[in-house]
């Protein structure tokens, strides 16, 4: 089996996956197997390579090799103006493009010290929460597919279609939305926006119940996900893991409540928190988050204020010299933008703190001692998008 380690690159990547000392080896003294869940794999959500050190069926250690989707987004940022860079951020976490756009626009607005008008903020909230639902739906479908339930994928994608139709009607694209501009939203809502959003909310609430019927109480699902990939709250905080993974481990931390942005303080919603920090809890937390998103959307559509949708922003953006770090609660965790400006029209440095990249660090801790089938479940439950991990 060692022929997997043919190239030097492989060898150097696994050199610190040392063999356990004699005393700790299982008495059968079976050879420890290095298994390569290679970049092309049906269930590593993108091009992620995970090198597993197995002892029979148990995982002794993992090593993630990333970079297969690196496109140099942060370098591109240094050669584009602030407004020009906006379409590029959608392509990082391509599943939740609206959140990426929101984070970037808010960071630049913080740098410029302007605030989007209230109507624009409400529209941003509506679209971001819709995007949160879309991202969680995609996560649910693919996670269930990895665990073997092949139908929830189609149900969640069908419901996600409705969200994407709303996006298409609003900003013109379904996936890489480029919905917001620096200073607000470019587009006014289209005729019938509120009605469609309300209709969607009514349509999707029973669908969430259907997903739960198929999965939440299903004994096979519970057995596959309970107790798998346990991550304690302290480990989460030590590794910097955020988002639903953190909340499922018992830590009640959500940036929408802790550091409210974009008028989230006006809305009444709860933060679902789990207890055990296993895969089942993460599943429950994300389903609950979807329901809370529906609540926020309902309130925002009812209370949508009148007014302009774009603040007074100069045509040529030249922020003052300085740096800013602003983070939002993306569907996958804390998405942060660190922008350094040197006074010119192009940023000096844009550093993106992707939630998936930081969450992926927890993979090793979560799968030690688990079986190979669990590795797939844990990668799924971390909800990583390689576009974000590699940028």
């Amino acid at each position: 089996m060692k022929e997997v380690l043919k190239s030097e690159q492989n060898a150097s990547a696994v050199k610190h996956l040392e063999l356990a000392p004699e005393a700790e080896r299982p008495y059968l003294d079976s050879d420890e197997l290095i298994l390569n869940m290679g970049p092309q794999h049906p269930s590593t959500h993108g091009v992620l390579r995970v090198i597993l050190k197995l002892d029979g069926e148990k995982v002794m250690g993992t090593e993630c090799v990333i970079g297969y989707l690196h496109r140099g987004v942060e370098k591109i940022a240094e050669h584009r103006t602030y407004a020009m860079f906006n379409p590029y951020v959608d392509r990082m976490d391509y599943v939740a493009a609206v959140s990426n756009g929101l984070g970037y626009c808010e960071s630049v607005e913080k740098l410029l010290n302007i605030e989007a008008p209230p109507r624009a903020q409400y529209i941003r909230v509506i679209l971001t929460e819709l995007n949160r639902m879309a991202s969680h739906m995609l996560w649910l479908g693919t996670h269930a597919l990895d665990i073997g339930a092949i139908t929830p994928l189609f149900y969640t994608f069908r419901d996600r279609e409705e969200i994407l139709k709303i996006f298409e009607k609003y900003c013109g694209a379904r996936l890489t939305t480029h919905a917001f501009r620096i200073g607000g939203c470019l587009y006014e809502t289209y005729d019938g926006f509120e009605d469609e959003v309300r209709k969607f909310a009514k349509f999707v609430a029973p669908k969430l119940d259907e997903y739960e019927t198929l999965l939440t109480t299903n004994r096979i699902w519970v057995e596959r996900t309970k107790g798998v990939g346990i991550l304690s709250g302290d480990d989460c905080k030590a590794l910097g893991v955020t988002g639903p993974v953190l909340r499922a481990s018992g830590v009640k931390w959500d940036l929408r409540k802790a550091q409210p942005y974009s008028s989230y303080q006006d809305f009444d919603f709860e933060i679902p928190v789990g207890t055990n920090g296993d895969t089942y809890d993460r599943y429950l937390v994300r389903i609950a988050e979807m329901r809370q998103s529906l609540r926020i959307i309902g309130q925002a559509v009812d209370k949508l204020p009148e007014g302009p949708v774009m603040a007074k922003v100069p045509k040529v953006l030249k922020p003052p010299v300085g740096e800013v770090y602003h983070s939002i609660e993306a569907p996958k965790g804390e998405l942060g933008y660190f922008i350094v400006s040197d006074g010119s029209t192009q940023p000096y440095r844009v550093r993106v703190r992707p939630p998936s990249f930081v969450n992926l660090q927890a993979l090793d801790k979560m799968v030690r001692g688990a079986l190979v089938a669990d590795v797939v479940a844990v990668i799924g439950t971390l909800d990583i998008v390689l576009g974000e991990v590699d940028r």
């Binding site: 089996m1 197997l33 298994l35 049906p42 269930s43 069926e57 269930a144 597919l145 990895d146 665990i147 073997g148 339930a149 092949i150 139908t151 994928l153 189609f154 149900y155 069908r158 198929l214 999965l215 299903n218 096979i220 699902w221 057995e223 596959r224 079986l371 190979v372 089938a373 669990d374 797939v376």
Partner: protein, 446 residues
Amino acid sequence: MPQWLQSTVDYVTKPNSMTPGWYADPIAGMIWALVYILIIFGGVSLVVMAMNWLERKALAHIQVRLGPMRVGPHGLLQPIADAIKLFIKEDIIPDGADKVVFWLAPVAVVMTAFTVYIVVPFGPQHAVTDMNIGLLFMLGVGSLSVLGIIMAGWASNSHYPLMGSLRSSAQMVSYEIAMGMAVVSAVLMTSFAGGGIYGTGGASATGGTLSMIGIVQAQAQQGTWFVFKFFPLGLLAFFIFAVAMVAETNRAPFDLPEAESELVAGFHTEYSGLRWSLFMLGEYAAMVAVSSIAVTLWLGGWMRPFQSLHGPNVEIPHYWSGGAIDLAAALVPAAIFFLLAFFTFIGVVRMPKHPIFRVQTAGLAAFGLALGAIGLVLLAPPVRDRVQDIFWFVLKVAVFMYLYIWYRGTFPRYRFDQLMHLGWKFMIPMGIAVLILTGALGVMAQ
């Protein structure tokens, strides 16, 4: 001539205990057996193709999509297209593979899967042969397919298939034990003399049998399908067998060895083209075979539901006795074909009116007419009477096939250790308990 040669010739040419009772003369018997074998071979292959289509369509509808629609109307010719594609694919053999074993593995799987059909009873006289150990033969030969799977994984010279084949064989062997427990309790029920659901007349000296036809006849004699005998016990045994047979054939929710998201495709990863299609053929044939065991043992084989409600004449087959209920039941096959023809014509009406679809619409209409014609043929009394047994048996097996597809579309899959835990720590103890209780209840004299 020498004695051994004489006895061999005698065995072949003179009637003996192995000759099926209803063949008048051994040579004719062998020729008829050959004819039946060819019919079954063609029939099973046809069933496998139909299963392929049904699986894709039913799974697609469960997943709110359409499935194949292009090749033939509503994808009806898709299995033919798939078969042609697989035949003309390049035959790739991995570099370090053991060529003989690599070639032999799919052959072993398909052979064992098809051999079990010689004892499957489609009717009291409709089987290739009626061995008095028919059930044991089916279970035994069916177990040989594990050998084929291990050979496939070993000969592929790659660690994914090896792991997959070892897991698959471990799973199949463990669930065979549970299957065996359930089967033994059903066989035990054949030896009871009491009739009715809770009849405990004690064991009869001549009742018990392993012959497949004999088991169904025992159910007829006791007046109840074994799934209802001693009410929860028969059902429990049936349930154990139903779960174990899904695990035995490596289907969801027990299909981890074939799961795409983990081991790419398990033991048949390195097989392509015709060889892979042989594995699929073997898998579907095994599904139909274990379903027919389940139908024979618990669901009354070829008996129609409510067989005890019959006309004045009590001899078997009831439909010849002419009672009203029997006549109504005898018309069910024709009714089902008319129903299918009706759905086909609804499909014809809903076809898009674009000129591209003219050929497809015509083809679908022709298919509907063919189904209707078969229904009409089935109305004629001579055909109607002869086809009853086969029809009910095939209908019950078809329900099982649909259940397989339904499970696949609904359930996540078990992890391997959970699967083994279920098999060893839950199914087998339950099977033993059911067996003991069945035996205890059965020998209690009234």
